[in-house]
Amino acid sequence: MKLIFKVINLFSSRHELIMELVRRELKDRHTGQVIGVIWSFGHPVLLMSLYAVLFAYVFPARFSLGSIQTDFSTNILAGVICWLAFQDILSRSPAILLTHASLVKQIVFPVEVLPVKTAIASLLPYAGGLVFAIGFSTFKGNLSLFSLALPVLILIQVIAMVGIAFIFSVFGVFLKDIRDLIIVFNSANLFAQPILYNPSATPEILQWIFVFNPFSYAVWCWQDLLFYGSIEHPVAWVVFPLESVLVFIVGLNIFERSKGTLGDNL
């Protein structure tokens, strides 16, 4: 508990540093490119549009919700945006400390801000994708008053992403192979979540996989928010916040414990 207060205190006193680092990271990713930072935001939007077009028009996806035939492309988009953000932070985490080795080793620097800024920098570009998804959802008539819970869901997602960044940034230092493991995991995990499937026609074996995949619960929450417009997966709304807080606390503990030895291993 003390640790949490310490961290909250750190983040509130260092928010200028964090925001400056986020700004730089987004800018640096695309230095030397013609439209530069626009890519950061454009990339998710383009990807989302691709999914939207594919599943709304190329493979028209329909399933029966009660007696009404519904287009579930919004459902796919909701899952995709959630997973893309997770995938982004997963693949970036192992490199966080390695790329900032000089900051860790050479100056008195609050190292904790590095995973936090990477998590924020991972999430921010999906703002564009989110706007697109909300637009699409409105267009398809899926949006409801329940969607006002969006900020809460974003907060839960941020906490989970920061936790992931804490854990894997440390792993990245001590076990450099984690980077490649994550790449494989990312490719596979897209299919192990209830994203691309017709919810009413999923084989039972997959349903079991979904239940055991921690990322599924996040996906279900986003789908409730953007597609169903009501709580269709009550379990997910309990599990996802719990998972998120758990990952954060575990991550923070791992990070704080290994902080002192980071300098030796970079």
Binding site: E20, R24, K105, I107, N265
Partner: protein, 430 residues
């Protein structure tokens, strides 16, 4: 911790673990079988630094200086011992760290400030001061990567000191600045220490140590080799670098034959020549020959400790050769209280002719000269060394102390007696 100690280090040690395979750390963790080689970077360091003190740290490459500073700064953890640090630390451990090469100097100042915990408003209020101190007004909006090494050092230093730290840690960063900037930094650090801030400084430059520090420490192979008054320590460090390659410390037989009187001095000049005390002189070398007897005499052979400026004198030493040496360089040097060599002469400087001596032989070295130094206290260092590689055979620092009088018509700060005559007269009107 008492209120006066800024840093207190007790039995501090640092062991690096070196793994030969990337899987080893993991395997070690799993099977608890040691798979690493330990490298003791620091061992048993004890050091207390008071508030307002400036301590210089010297040592050869790899002696552990940077490791020690990093542990104090908090970027590395020690593996044993205790460390107590009291106050806000600002450190300059490497040039331009935290600075991004693609960003301009100005942007980097903000970044550096944020890293040290300043807010944007605080950085803004100091921005002008920082840029002025760095003297980079013309290039501050150009990318950091276009700066020369010296300019990078200036910006790094200027940014680091803008927080007015309680403890400032500087690791060799200054040495790349030009002389003028170095001077500015040194006087800034002096002012800072007057405000009760503590400064730890790593440098190879003896001058910086003697002119700035209150105390100096030599690190050698991860341990504190010696610690004390800057002038003595810098001399010892020179010896460590250029002396014999064997274990030199055993060869320092301090004041074996005579404890010379020597003036203690302080950097600030406050107690400069008042406080005369008995101090042991420093002796070192590889012992292939030993200086046996030495002295400062008048031409009649009487021992001198005071003399008039302009008087004739001679310097003599007898040396016992204990091993055949064919490249002896030997002679005397006169230093002032600050350790500046004012005069020196050897057979090499005289006619570039190394002297050869066989085991068991004894030889005498004599220099006759006129004392043209101005009034003051001086010290004579005796030395025998190899000409080829400069390795020292027997050196006695400040073996003789003497004073000169008789130049009361010139400035008391004069260093030399130019045998000057003063004349003033009214010119005739045409």
């Amino acid at each position: 911790m008492t209120g006066h100690d800024a840093i207190r280090i007790i039995n501090l040690g640092k062991k690096y673990r070196i793994f030969s395979h990337p899987a080893d750390p993991l395997l070690e963790l799993m099977f608890e079988k040691s798979r690493h080689i330990s490298k003791q970077a620091l061992e048993d360091i004890n050091l207390t630094v008071k508030r307002g003190e400036i301590v210089g740290i010297m040592g050869r490459n790899g002696a552990g200086k940077s490791t020690l500073l990093k542990i104090i700064a908090g970027t590395l953890e020690s593996t044993s011992g205790e460390l107590e640090v009291n106050g806000r630390i600002s450190s300059i451990l490497e040039l331009g760290t935290g600075f991004h090469p693609e960003y301009t100097g100005r942007e980097n100042i903000f970044m550096g400030g944020f890293c040290m915990g300043l807010t944007r408003a605080e950085v803004n209020s100091r921005l002008h001061e920082i840029i002025n101190f760095s003297e980079l007004n013309d290039v501050i909006d150009q990318p950091f990567k276009t700066y020369s090494t010296g300019m990078q050092a200036r910006l790094t230093f200027s940014t680091a000191i803008s927080v007015e730290p309680d403890i400032l840690i500087v690791d060799e960063a200054l040495s790349v600045g030009d002389a003028k900037f170095q001077k500015k930094c040194i006087s800034w650090m002096r002012n800072l220490s007057k405000k009760d801030a503590t400064i730890l400084l790593v440098t190879h430059d003896s001058n910086t140590i003697t002119s700035l520090c209150d105390r100096a420490v030599i690190l050698e192979s991860g341990q504190i080799y010696s610690e004390g008054e800057p002038k003595k320590i810098t001399e010892e460090y020179q010896n460590l670098l250029f002396g014999g390659s064997e274990n030199i410390k055993n060869n320092i037989t301090a004041g074996q034959l005579n404890n010379v009187q020597s003036a203690s001095y302080s950097i600030n000049g406050e107690s400069a020549d008042k406080n005369i005390q008995n101090k042991q002189n420093v002796r070192y070398g590889n012992n292939k020959a030993k200086i046996k007897d030495w002295g400062l005499y008048d031409l009649a052979g009487n021992v001198l400790s005071n003399m008039m400026s302009g008087a004739d004198f001679k310097l003599e030493m007898d040396v016992n050769t204990l091993m055949d040496i064919d490249d002896i360089s030997c002679g005397f040097a006169i230093k002032d209280k600050r350790g500046t060599v004012l005069w020196g002469m050897t057979n090499i400087s005289n006619d570039d002719n190394p002297y050869t001596s066989k085991t068991g032989e004894q030889f005498n070295v004599t220099i006759k000269a006129k004392m043209w130094l101005a009034a003051g206290e001086y010290f004579i260092t005796l030395g025998v060394a190899h000409d080829k590689d400069g390795e020292k055979i027997d050196f006695i620092e400040d073996a003789i102390r003497f004073s000169v009088a008789g130049t009361n018509k010139i400035f008391t700060t004069s260093v030399v007696n130019l045998q000057s005559q003063f004349n003033i007269q009214t010119l005739e009107k045409n």
